[in-house]
Subunit: 343 residues, 2 copies
């Protein structure tokens, strides 16, 4: 990590706030007051307001040895916005608090904020709060996003019914395999000094780990097809956790076909290279930022007619008593389990 | 700090989330979905929605050696809610993220959450998000609060005009003197081993530091008197910073009478004891959580007739070119300055 640059003490707390206030333009007509007062003032855009937060801590959620700050900024917005997408909502306004250690130079905060601003531009989000503070330790990124949804469009985790088809967008486990690859290269770098990392043609999993996108296209597809999932959740801590949470909220069980879980070919290649089971990456890895949802049979048919490549049916909901299980490739039924203390 | 107790790994991430979801009842009819889904769902209560965040970091914003976790939880809610009060708004919904180091036991999280829940009960705030995560270092508390205000009731920092009277609620510098007292006792304890701290009859400043209240009574008084400040700001980093920010936003200057700055008699007593200038505590100390506001002359008279003890006029706004100055006790004019990198 480059620690040369302009110390933050030179620009000062208020200087830093002014700097990004100028860079953050307003895209939302609902923003009455953005940064610069005691609180943001927003005119409600939809019938319901959505709000969710995340806290990204150095050493827990990211490693600055291999994470470019710009990507980190972008990814943190994607992560928090994905929670709103899982309600079928539209992200609108972002509030940022940063804990900045003494190794952070102005140029580094600029890079991080460039990533955040880039994601806000991409997803049409207004930054309405920016509070930097000093930190004794590493970098802390705290984001809160609000958004809106019409009452009739709201999708929760709890509307799933037995026989609904369980679908997932994109593919799973790739971000986790990207992380494993970066961790391996970190060990190699440590052992061999400053050499250029060798990633081969594994860009896909690295991009999934370092610079994911929020799956707005899924919501746009629902709108286009005039359908609405019965329940939906954001896959951030692996498929197992997402399935258990959706089933619990919907008071259902589920049956998942292991063979149907979508794995990208590069994920399979890297998993083979690293001698790691790619299914474990999909089930218990994290940061895929895909959407898991249940569909009525009628809506499922519409989706499969239009998006057979982008959306995968992996199983179905059952009665609660039947539990949450996976059919393994050998057609055994295995209980789904998720790690408890993991974020 | 007591580190005995139940390790968090025993209850797990989801166990911890469920624990406080059960404890956090709903007081606001606008809460459609609180904790337990991907994001909170809120029905807008006023014409405008307010949102603000804070990040409290161990070692920067609090010292667990002398800060009871319950008080810390209460105070952090007061701190973030005060930003909404400064807009003349009503706090409504709180989202919490916690970074929990490995020294944190379940009982300690319970204490912290007891304080947070207590403040939410006191101020009628619903907890609509709770996300714990592990932390490599100390405790991180990230709070976001939303609230509402009618369009015609909104007060910003920017409406002040020359000749408006500048007023402040309560008294200033007391929380900072409380902090100095606690820091002295910490040094004494370190030197002498485990003896009981001696605070004499200085409870007032300790309470101001450890368990402040949000100044909702000020807003209630405005409503009762049917007045509205022309501009308002929350005094959290000392009077100087608050004055400069309000004046800048209102494109004004100001004249403040040093003699008028409200100092509590216990603040004066402790300042004398510690050989510290109490005015410096008021101007550059922090965490008073009082409200600073400007009033038209007519509204000022109404306030002084009703609340001569609780609200103090300390000066007036001027044209921008005249700068921001204090009349010292010797009737000299001194330029107001605030520390830049301070939070």
């Amino acid at each position: 990590m480059d620690v040369k640059g302009t110390p933050l003490s030179e620009i000062g707390l208020y200087g830093l706030m002014n700097r990004y206030q100028q860079k953050a333009g307003s895209k939302q007509s609902s923003t009455i007051i953005g940064m610069g007062d005691d609180s943001a003032v927003i005119a409600p855009a939809g019938e319901y307001q959505l709000m969710t937060s995340l806290l990204f801590l150095e050493g827990i959620h990211f490693d600055l040895i291999y994470t470019p700050l710009k990507h980190l900024g972008y990814k943190s917005v994607v992560a928090v916005a994905s929670d709103l997408l899982a309600m079928n909502g539209k992200p609108g306004h972002l509030s940022i608090s940063l804990g900045l250690g003494n190794k952070m130079m102005l140029e580094m905060v600029d890079e991080l904020m460039d990533g955040i601003l880039g994601a806000c531009e991409r997803y049409q989000i207004d930054i309405v709060g920016f509070k930097p503070t000093s930190s004794l330790t590493g970098l802390s990124i705290s984001l809160t996003i609000t958004g809106s949804v019409q009452k009739s469009e709201l999708v929760t985790r709890s509307g799933g019914k037995a026989t609904d088809v369980i679908c997932v967008s994109g593919d799973l486990g790739s971000a986790f395999m990207g992380l494993q690859l970066l961790e391996r290269e970190k060990r190699v770098l440590k052992a061999s000094g400053d050499v250029k990392p060798e990633f081969g043609n594994s860009d896909y999993v690295l991009e999934r780990q370092l610079r994911p996108e929020a799956k707005i296209w899924v919501l746009e597809s629902f709108k286009k097809l005039k359908i609405k999932p019965t329940a939906m959740i954001h896959v951030k801590d692996g498929l197992s956790a997402a399935l258990l949470l959706l089933c619990k909220a919907s008071n259902s069980g589920c049956r998942i076909h292991e063979k149907k879980i979508p794995l990208h070919q590069i994920t399979l290649k890297v998993a083979l290279e690293l001698n790691f089971n790619p299914l474990i990456a999909a089930l218990n890895g994290g940061e895929d930022y895909e959407l898991l949802f249940s569909l009525s049979l009628t809506d499922y048919e519409k989706v499969m007619n239009e998006l057979p490549e982008q959306i995968t049916a992996i199983g179905y909901l059952t009665e609660r008593e039947k539990g949450c299980r996976i059919f393994s490739s050998g057609d055994q039924e295995i209980e789904i389990q998720a790690q408890g203390w993991k974020d």
